[in-house]
Amino acid sequence: MPIRAENIKYVYSEGTPFRTLALDGINVRIDRGEFVGLIGHTGSGKSTLIQLFNGLEPATEGKVEVDGTQVGEDKKKLKLIRQKVGLVFQYPEYQLFEETVEKDVAFGPINLGLTREETDHRVKEALELVGFNYKKIKDASPFELSGGQKRRVAIAGVLAMKPDYLILDEPTAGLDPAGRNEILGQVKKLHEVSEVSVILVSHSMEDIAKLVDRVIVLYRGKVHMQGTPKDIYSKADELERIGLGIPQIASIVRDLRNRGFNIKQDILTVEEAKEEILKEVRRRNV
């Protein structure tokens, strides 16, 4: 069962001079178990779209379905939808508030009315899924942790709700490279060991290239392109035209090809680029 968005339109500031059509005829589908990257310039509609997915905002037109249930049709079902579609906001560490990591992660399950036993079990599982040693971390104050660790605690808080879909909005913003790798490495592992679908919203083309199965590119409220990272990043000029960057490796490959280098177009890693360049250089030197 997927998340399905059909013919979505979303207007904000209706009736004012700032009326904006944030989403304009969006059709997308996210299947169970997928790892999808959502990219687009600021104001392209990414954040609006993910808020429609879990019913934080109602669509102006069109419908969103989560596993067959239409979002917003029956208000009583919103709670279930929000449990199924877990949303980790930007800078989620600002939402940590409890004295200990364990209490913070337990907040959601307790509010779901779960038993003490089930709550404890979920907290332990969620913290381990994001790479913590449960015993070592549970009594720590969330405020004493590093930036990357705080974020992992915040993600664990959403995982403890056992979502089927996990949406991460810019999970690495403001982190240093080591913190970025820490978060993304854990998300990747999480996706591998659980059946959760992950939707990663990111400005980092390098991160998207490394992780996801499919990329959805939004531009001015519309789905501009969809495809595998290799498909998408081989359209370097087009991505730059719509205000997005490309991984540096992709721009090296593009420039070399433009200058007559006979190498593959769809290269995303340093390793692959090295192999291809060596082949071409050696061929030329023969």
């Binding site: 403001g174 490279p177 680029a273």
Partner: protein
């Protein structure tokens, strides 16, 4: 010889008594007109250093001089902050007014600048950052990159000679980051001293000088080429190097004859296509 606009002399700083030094014996001089990038993992001391320069924090030991003014001299506080203006990470936390031009006028108004002079400075600052046509807009309806350019214009309206930016692009998309970097390069070309703290190596590459901090110490200091060629060391400090530098060094290991300090795509492409 250009003057040093910032002189940092054996500075140590700790936030609380029983903690480690956040800045642990740093000496550093910044020349007028220099574009310096400071990189380092979270907690390496780079933001603390910026706050020390701006006199938001005072050194536990050592001295900092901004244009000859001691940052621990109370009477010079406003002159120091006017000389070295600061721009922070989150654009939404530093804009105060409901209209763009009023926001930029806020600083000079508080300094008691004459109204005509304020008008002139605001217009000039807006033009410099390319935001003049947005002067009547409410800031909250601007994009992140535009908001940061407004924050930079606010510093320019104070006639600051030096602009210190603490991760100004962390919350921006690629085109917003580009806008901010282009604005900074333009200001630098016009003579402003720029001190940019960043987690993005592609931004650091564009500076004249890169300083790498770790655990409160300065570990590397040099041109981008001198610094980024030390891939293993940079990675040890929890940082990255540009992919092009990494690729070049991999190719060198395979026997290709290339310089180890390539930091820009164009350099590598030109050499390979010779």
């Amino acid at each position: 010889m250009k003057e040093y606009i910032i002189k940092i002399d054996k500075v140590k700083y700790k936030y609380e008594k029983n903690t480690d030094y956040a800045v642990n014996g740093v000496s550093l001089n910044i020349k007028e007109g220099e574009f310096t990038a400071i990189i380092g993992r979270n907690g390496s001391g780079k933001s603390t250093l910026a706050k020390l320069i701006n006199s938001i924090l005072l050194p536990t030991e050592g001295k900092i001089y901004v244009k000859g003014m001691d940052t621990s001299d109370d009477t010079k506080l406003w002159d120091i902050r006017q000389t070295a203006g600061m721009v922070f990470q989150n654009p939404d936390n530093q804009l105060v007014a409901t209209i763009v031009e009023e926001d930029i006028a806020f600083g000079p108004e508080n300094l008691g600048v004459e109204p005509e002079e304020i008008r002139r400075r605001v217009d000039e600052a807006l033009n410099t950052v390319g935001m003049y046509e947005f002067r009547k807009r409410p800031p909250h309806l601007l994009s992140g990159g535009q908001k940061q350019r407004i924050a930079i214009a606010g510093v320019l309206a104070l006639n600051s000679e030096c602009i210190i930016l603490d991760e100004p692009t962390a919350m921006l998309d690629p085109s917003g980051r580009k806008e901010v970097m282009e604005t900074l390069k333009k200001l630098n070309a016009e003579g402003k001293t720029i001190l940019l703290i960043t987690h993005f190596m592609d931004e650091a590459v564009q500076a004249d000088r890169v300083i790498v901090m770790d655990k409160g110490y300065i570990k590397l200091d040099g041109t981008p080429k001198e610094v980024f060629r030390n891939i293993d060391e940079i990675k040890k400090y929890g940082l990255d190097v540009p992919q092009v530098t990494e690729l070049t060094q991999e190719l060198i290991k395979e026997g290709l004859d290339l310089p180890p300090d390539i930091i820009e795509v164009k350099e590598l492409v030109d050499l390979l296509c010779q």
